[in-house]
């Protein structure tokens, strides 16, 4: 982490960048927040550890409007989002100085709490330089342990790989974390009967409180004004008066980011109700891969997105019924 801070200081000092976008230590062991640092002194609060899950690419939309370059720290998966934003002209590559930071999987505080660990005072083993496989958690109610892998976010278990797609320089090592099949969950649902599928999603979506955290954290959901906030479309929604509205919102949201979603997993990470929202996006990704050829959004900045492209012999919509 010191290496990152030192490099940030250098780049600030030599005028390469006007500010640094990274994470600031929180007041609890697990709540660092995305933050801007304008000078070397401020960087003393800089932190990069297992809880720095936020995808900073989205913040670069605003940062691109600022004077001068912004030094931004991006994890491998964040760089896909950044590329996608370049493709959509939403960020300015020239305004960003990207340091790709290593990643050994990001932690999910919800998982730690779900394991019954509460009253947390300190957590050891979340440091990025730490090779530890186990988190040592000091709580008011005694010391607890949890395997690092068990506390990881879902997205890290199906990691796309630790290669940065766009960067100016790289700092830090990464560790492979993929230990599950990307589409396993989607396939499990696909195999259900319509009744089971319906019950599954009804159950999950009925938790939705329409707080819009999924949308607002999503780097692909970067509309200046969302259709669900806009009066233009006669589609504005604010609360889920009826269960249909959650479905409408989540289907359309997933559809709008279909072919653009890099599967960064922010939607599921930020959902206060723990709804596995990535299952919508990943379903589209799977369909696109199967029907139109494998496509990874954000792998490049040039290729045509699947929904703005076609071939003459694309599958007919009736394939949906035929696939069973």
């Amino acid at each position: 982490m010191q290496e990152i801070i030192n490099r940030a200081k250098e780049l600030l000092a030599d005028g390469t960048v006007a500010r640094v976008l990274g994470w600031k230590a929180g007041d609890l062991p697990y709540n660092p927040e995305p933050a801007y640092f304008e000078n070397a002194e401020a960087l003393s609060d800089f932190v990069y550890n297992g809880f720095c899950g936020a995808n900073l690419s989205k913040y670069m939309i605003e940062a691109s409007k600022l004077e001068g370059k912004t030094l931004v720290f991006l994890k491998p998966c964040d760089t896909y989002s950044f590329n996608q934003l370049i493709k959509e002209h939403r960020v300015d590559r020239e305004k960003a100085y990207i340091i790709g930071v290593g990643c050994k999987g990001k932690l999910d505080i919800e998982k730690i709490k779900k394991a019954g660990i509460k009253g947390i005072e300190s957590i050891e083993g979340a440091e990025i330089s730490d090779a530890a496989e186990t988190l040592k958690i000091q709580t008011i109610y005694g010391e607890k342990e949890m395997a690092y892998a068990d506390a990881m976010l879902e997205r890290c278990h199906v990691c796309k790989g630790k290669e940065h797609q766009v960067y100016d320089e790289l700092i830090g090592e990464s560790k492979e974390t993929k230990d599950a099949e990307l589409f396993a969950e989607v396939e499990r649902i696909e195999a259900m009967s319509p009744e089971e599928k319906f019950a599954f999603f009804q159950n999950e979506l009925s938790k939705c409180i329409r707080c819009n955290a999924c949308r607002n954290a999503c780097p692909a959901c970067n509309c200046r004004k969302c259709v669900f906030d806009s009066t233009k479309f006669d589609s504005a929604q604010k609360a889920n008066v009826d269960t249909f509205e959650e479905k409408m919102f989540h289907i359309i949201r997933a559809f709008h980011v279909a072919g653009r979603c890099t599967d960064c997993g922010e939607c599921s990470r930020v959902c206060p109700q723990g709804i596995p929202l990535h299952l919508f996006n990943r379903k589209f990704i799977k369909d696109i891969d199967e029907l139109y050829g494998e496509y990874q959004a954000g792998e490049d900045t040039e290729s045509k997105a699947p929904l703005t492209n076609f071939t003459f012999d694309d599958a007919e919509p009736s394939i949906v019924g035929k696939r069973g």
């Binding site: 959509e88 970067n222 200046r224 006669d234 703005t308």
Partner: protein
Amino acid sequence: MQRLGVFVCHCGSNIAATVDVAKVAEMALMEPGVVHAEDYQYMCSEAGQAKIAEAIKEKNLTGIVVCSCSPRMHEATFRKAAERAGLNPYMVEIANIREHCSWIHKDMEEATKKAVILMRAAVAKVNLNTPLQPGESRVTKRALVIGGGIAGIQTALDIADAGYEVDIVEKTPSIGGRMSQLDKTFPTLDCSACILTPKMVEASAHEKINIYTYSEVEKVSGFVGDFTVDIRKKARHVDMDKCTGCGVCQEKCPSKKAPSEFNRGLNKRSAIYTPFAQAIPNVPVIDCDNCIKFKTGKCGICAKVCQAGAIDYEQQDEIVTQKYGAIVVATGFDTINLEKYDEYAYSQSPDVITSLELERVMNAAGPTHGHLERLSDGKAPKEIVFIQCVGSRCSDDRGKPYCSKICCMYTAKHAMLIRDKYPDVNVTVFYIDVRTPGKNFDEFYRRAVEQYGVNYIKGQVGKVILQPNGKLLVQGADLLDNRQILKEADMVVLATAIEPNPDVRKIATMLTASIDTNNFLTEAHAKLRPVESPTAGIFLSGVCQGPKDIPETVAQAGAAAVKAIGLLAKDKLLTNPCTAKSDELLCNGCSTCANVCPYGAITYEDKEVNDHGIREVRRLAVVNNALCQGCGACTVACPSGAMDLQGFSNRQIIAEVDAICR
């Protein structure tokens, strides 16, 4: 709030027999905004239209719904009627209660219910209609023809004869194209040059036609009626105005090693050259790659021998910028590269030639001065084998999936001409199918068989083997006799597939004209608009659109000309007002809409906006109304709903959905 009128047509008994029209009118009055409703025998009649006009004026209607037949039938009628009464024509909606209701339902109650719902949907929509004004754009009365082959020449002549200025841009030093390389033409066997040259002369002499040879289109911007094109006139190094075309320079040029493009590389030409004797313009160009002066700085013989002083080694490329109202693409074709067909020994023996090369061999101005001889040793061949479909109808990546269309006929022509001139030469044709649809075409082919004794074998050749004695061993199959044939031949002629000129891709991109997987330009409609590109103002002439022979090419060239003339004859273009429109405050500038626009109608501009007090410069989508055809692909691609389609807006369609599901 709108003040709406609803007019329910009986259409005699067509509607009224199944739909209770009075009930529909009565129900209409319950709908929001409706202040007037009536039913009448024939709404489209003069009297019916008068009723509409009267109601519009008397009740100050801001919009009307006509419940009648299909809008495809009378929408235009009712729009005009509304316009005459002072209402914007786009404030008219049609509820189709005939084709979609009375004609297909028998039960009156059911049909009436449905008619009421269709009426409600139309009322819900018209409630959200806004008056639309068709835009206007001016038309530059000048056409550009890209390509100076027979297609381009014919198109240019037809447009020019109609009185409009035409520019032809031709890449090579002379117009004439592929047809100028041909010896004879089927099915009449007249001399190609004899029928082409007069047309070339006519084009060059036409006061309305301006020819840019040795030139290429560099950049195209603008849209239908108002294109701006940059043309690069490549440096000829010969002053067009001074040159008299005497030809001394070519004679004296010491560098005579360059393969002649015109003769398909079968012989050599000088570094300063005109491609062929009848070239237009008859002004040579210097091929700098082969010119000693340009390579070493020494020589300069051509300048010395030119009495007109036309040689100019310092000449530079020149860019001409010109405005056009219409552009016709006539870029033609070439034969495919045979690299991947090694089994035919094309690269191994000079006696294996393509049909186009045979044209040059047979031509009096060709490398052999019209004598049929083997290019390897100059001997007269006794046995000639023609192989059909070389690279055509191939589904692998070596060839083309389509039929090149012209090969069957020109092969029959070649076979016949050879048998006619050299009766002692045996001619064998290996074919898969003989395809001869066309006037007098099959008769022509039958003549080759019956009158001239050409040996047609159904089957393909598997391999051509160059033997040590210089002869070619052809191994083929005769599928009808079910035997394998080994035949020794002196010459093998390959009916090589044709493909669009490789430059067409670049040109299509500049024009935003779409192109298919085989690089043929796509027509606006395969059946109904075969000479227009989907991009407005771009027309297609000749083989750039698909394989065709000379008469078809000329016919299409004329058709393209007529389409271009139809456009140029207008002073102004009225644009369809039902075009896409982007809401500046909602636009993300993400380019998704532009990516799906088939017309290249969406561009991006950095614009300052005032978003509720926040002033900033944003990248925003701008729709060119002259180009937009109103398909709506962009509106769905746009995630924020910034892009909307006038006349079929999101809210209008949603209102219809709501009304139907009510």
